[in-house]
């Protein structure tokens, strides 16, 4: 007979052990699937690591993937801290990239790079923030469901950018090929240590969000609203303003990530520029338990997985969607382990029960 009891409390060390076990189990489970596909899971895992951090260039590519993921995750984290389920990261990235492109295509080539980049960043942040403001406003004012709302905003953004790419912004010099004109050199991010400077922005984002949540009044208010709306109301907090600022920060960060992708990676605008980071960030923010530094580390590990998988495709002809599968399995196990953090399962054999009864 199985009995399920609620746990009183759990030492931190045991909690971490359970979670580590969950990750391990997920790797074993994913390994079985890989085995069923006819590959050696150990080799596949080794190749993922090799492919993501094996050489300097691969490390650089991994970091390039980690940068947008980290910035977007920080944005998602701020919203989630308030229990505002912003799953509109994709759309906010997209609109950020759009804002950056709007500036890049319209300012003359003679504008100095720092000013150009700053203008692009400001515009991108603004566009991302506006895209997040719309659902936040309706949530604050009318209590609409933010999950559906932010999700739908994604599709509007994607279709809008697609329209721009195939329509008004289509560059005739590509001979009918639907592509937005490439940015001039002054709209492209410079490099530092062989990497575009986005990584510095990512580090600042982690530190900034950490300070925002833990050391500012607004951050404190966001945590209180997330924990108990009644208590926030009772303490005299202006809940509408809190919801809206949190979402402005959230969407602004996502927009900024969009600008980095447009400027440093694509060097133009495409309708695939968000590349799923807005959704992956939901996973990383959650796995990192909404703690900025931990989420940062989780993002790097996820970037390794992404980079390693594309290497797999090249070197072993295994589809890169293996990475998606592993992500899903990890999420399933780690979220599932939450149950074991809160409850204890006791196995009792039936005979013993009969005796006590």
């Amino acid at each position: 007979m199985i009995k399920i009891n609620k746990r009183a409390s759990l030492p931190k060390r045991k909690e971490m052990m359970i979670q580590a076990l969950a990750v391990l189990l997920s790797l074993v489970f994913a390994g079985l699937v890989i085995l069923a596909m006819g590959y050696n899971p150990l080799e596949v895992y080794y190749r993922i690591v090799e492919g993501s951090v094996g050489t300097i260039i691969r490390i650089q590519q991994t970091i390039n993937k980690a940068v947008p993921l980290i910035i977007v995750s920080m944005g998602i984290l701020v919203a989630f801290k308030m229990k505002f389920w912003n799953i509109g990261g994709e759309g906010q990235i997209m609109m950020g990239a759009f804002g950056a492109t709007l500036v890049a295509l319209n300012l003359p080539e003679s504008v100095p790079t720092p000013i150009m980049l700053l203008a692009m960043a400001v515009m991108a942040t603004l566009c991302g923030a506006i895209w997040a403001f719309i659902p936040a406003f309706f949530k604050a004012k009318f209590g609409t469901n933010e999950t559906i709302f932010t999700l739908m905003m994604n599709y509007i953004a994607i279709k809008f950018v697609t329209y721009m790419q195939f329509g008004p912004w289509k560059d005739p010099s590509f001979g009918g090929f639907p592509k937005v004109a490439s940015f001039h050199d002054n709209a492209i991010m410079p490099s530092l240590f062989g990497l575009h400077i986005g990584w510095i922005i990512a580090l600042f984002a982690v530190a900034g969000v950490y300070i925002f949540i833990h050391h500012t009044k607004r951050g404190y208010e966001i945590s209180v609203v997330g924990e108990s709306l009644d208590t926030a109301r009772y303490a005299g907090m202006n809940i509408k303003a809190i919801i809206i600022t949190a979402m402005l920060v959230s969407g602004g960060l996502c927009g900024l990530a969009g600008m980095i992708q447009a400027s440093a990676i694509e060097k133009t605008l495409t309708y695939t520029i968000s590349a799923g980071y807005g959704f992956t960030a939901i996973i990383t923010a959650w796995l990192g338990r909404l703690s900025a530094p931990v989420v940062g580390v989780v993002c790097f590990l996820f970037a390794m997985l992404l980079q390693g998988s594309s290497f797999l495709q090249a070197s072993m002809a295994i589809p890169a969607s293996v990475a998606d599968m592993i992500q899903g399995v990890i999420l399933f196990f780690v979220l599932g382990s939450d149950f074991f953090l809160q409850y204890k399962v006791v196995l009792k054999d039936k005979k013993a029960v009969k005796e006590v009864a």
Partner: protein, 510 residues
């Protein structure tokens, strides 16, 4: 020799690290009313939940009418004739009494509306129950709902009845009626277990008493042979002075004046209907009334949390109605509302004591950054002066015991030197010692000149502690009385809507 109805032997039940029951013994005879007495958290409900098959004991034996049983579900317990009446009724609001009785029951052979009505009527007549079977539950008073619950379990063949705090929500008149029903059932050979912590009721209704303390059964005594003070000693484990003092107040002028206040609840129904009263500085004004008579709306309207349809609230001469909660807090009006789940309003469970103190403090800090320093100091001071049991001020408040959680809440409000303190159910769920500590704190505030609005559940406490008692019924004030001049029964009548002649003329239409 009496027949033994229930016997529970050496029952132990643990939840995580908590020993809810440890070697508990209980014997209940047929035809007796047995009181299970103990403070909150003594393990009374846990024990009864094992009898009704909701929990399974870790070890120990349960016998029902001599036969050992091993319940794995409430259904098995019901089949053996055990009926549990929970504190929170388990009724379907939109169904009628009859539908609730039949819910989940197999149709008996040849059953139709007519003989069902007769069957229930026979049952009701036998025990002196009185209920309109076609009335919908949402139209019923609390007393009627309880009667329905009793009929429901009797119809299912209960011979052993467990009542969990049945009087908590009833008026004195309804309590009398319930006791009459219980005595009738006893005459018919039913065994009744009543869980309560109200001593006067225990003395009035029970034949024998089993006292639980900290999960252990301390003693079983015959009611006639025992005195109240020794029962308290058994419950608490030490001698306690159970006198609530009504200390003289400084006698200041009117501090908060509520004038013709009308408030709608969330469904747009009238929650407060044109009520007027004045709270003086240095007095404790009690608010009595059956649950949901408008107490919550009154608190929230004063604190600025909900809008009013009509009326004015004057504080020191200014109308504060329409101001936002933050401004009202700044004026020195503080509210401590203890909801049923304790943490719902006023505290953030997962945050530590310091951050819960910050809650009311941070808005007065300049700049955008949060300063914890002064709040850590304040937290330490509150923990020390109110004797809050906690490892340190960085412990999440949800890990503290109920009494300590309430002390944190009240301590924070008091520490801000309020001018008006609104406190709703501050002793809800507290043990005797902690409750008295809270009464002391309220008395201290009163003597310091604070106007205290005390919304309470226990009429005895309201009458002992408060300078005046205002009675609410369906959102109307049925009277403001001097508790030394009226009886509990009179207040009880006012709670059900009859205005009282003895009302102080000076408090009318203020």
């Amino acid at each position: 020799m009496q027949t033994i109805s229930i016997q529970m032997e050496n029952i132990t039940k643990t939840f995580g690290a908590l020993k809810a029951n440890e070697d508990v013994n209980l014997t209940v005879y047929a035809g007796e009313i047995h009181a299970l007495l103990g403070e909150n958290g003594a393990g009374k409900s846990t024990l009864m939940n094992m009898l009704s098959g909701i929990y399974m004991p870790d070890s120990g034996f349960i016998y029902v009418e001599g036969k050992p049983v091993n319940f794995t579900s409430p259904k098995e317990s019901i089949e053996l004739g055990i009926g549990m009446i929970h504190q929170h009724f388990k009724l379907v609001d939109i169904l009628t009494a009859k539908e609730n009785i039949l819910l989940g029951q197999k149709k008996k052979a040849g059953q139709n509306d007519k003989n069902l009505a007769k069957e229930i009527k026979d049952l009701s007549d036998r025990y002196g129950l009185d209920l309109d079977l076609n009335k919908k539950v949402y139209q019923m008073s609390v007393g009627e709902k309880q009667t329905l619950e009793i009929i429901k379990v009797l119809y299912r063949g209960a011979r052993i009845l467990v009542l969990d705090e049945p009087t908590a929500v009833l008026t004195p008149q309804e309590i009398k009626k319930l006791f009459r029903i219980m005595r009738n059932m006893k005459e018919h050979g039913c065994a009744i277990v009543i869980i309560t912590h109200k001593l006067n009721e225990v003395m009035e209704i029970s034949d024998r008493i089993t006292v639980l303390r900290k999960g252990k059964s301390i003693a079983t005594v015959v009611t006639k042979e025992v005195e109240v003070p020794s029962l308290i000693e058994m419950m608490v484990g030490k001698k306690v002075d159970l006198e609530i003092d009504r200390l003289p107040g400084p006698g200041l002028g009117e501090s908060l004046v509520v004038d013709e206040l009308t408030v709608m609840d969330m469904e747009g129904k009238l929650a407060l209907d044109n009520i007027s009263f004045a709270l003086k500085g240095g007095e404790i004004l009690g608010v009595a009334g059956v649950a949901k008579s408008g107490q919550k709306e009154l608190c929230e309207a004063i604190a600025g949390l909900i809008p009013a349809a009509k009326g004015r609230i004057f504080f020191q001469g200014d109308n504060i109605l329409g101001k936002n909660p933050r401004d009202i807090i700044r004026l020195g009006i503080r509210m401590g509302f203890i909801p049923e789940d304790r943490l719902g309003m006023g505290l953030v469970g997962s945050m530590d004591i310091v951050h819960n103190i910050v809650l009311k403090d941070y808005q007065n800090q300049p700049g955008i950054f949060l300063k914890r320093g002064p709040c850590i100091e304040k937290a330490n001071r509150i923990v020390e002066t109110l004797d809050i049991m906690t490892p340190n001020v960085y412990t999440p408040v949800k890990k503290l015991s109920g009494g300590n959680i309430q002390k944190v809440l009240l301590g924070r409000e008091i520490d801000s030197n309020p001018k008006v303190l609104i406190t709703a159910y501050p002793v809800r769920g507290l043990d005797v010692g902690a409750s008295y500590k809270i009464y002391e704190l309220l008395n201290e505030q009163k003597q310091a000149g604070v106007g205290v609005l005390f919304i309470g559940e226990d009429l005895d406490v309201l009458m002992d502690l408060c300078d005046r008692v205002m009675v609410l019924c369906n959102g109307k004030v049925t009277g403001i009385v001097d508790p030394t001049q009226v009886t509990k029964e009179e207040i009880g009548l006012m709670m059900t809507g009859s205005a009282l002649e003895k009302e102080e003329p000076s408090d009318k239409n203020q």
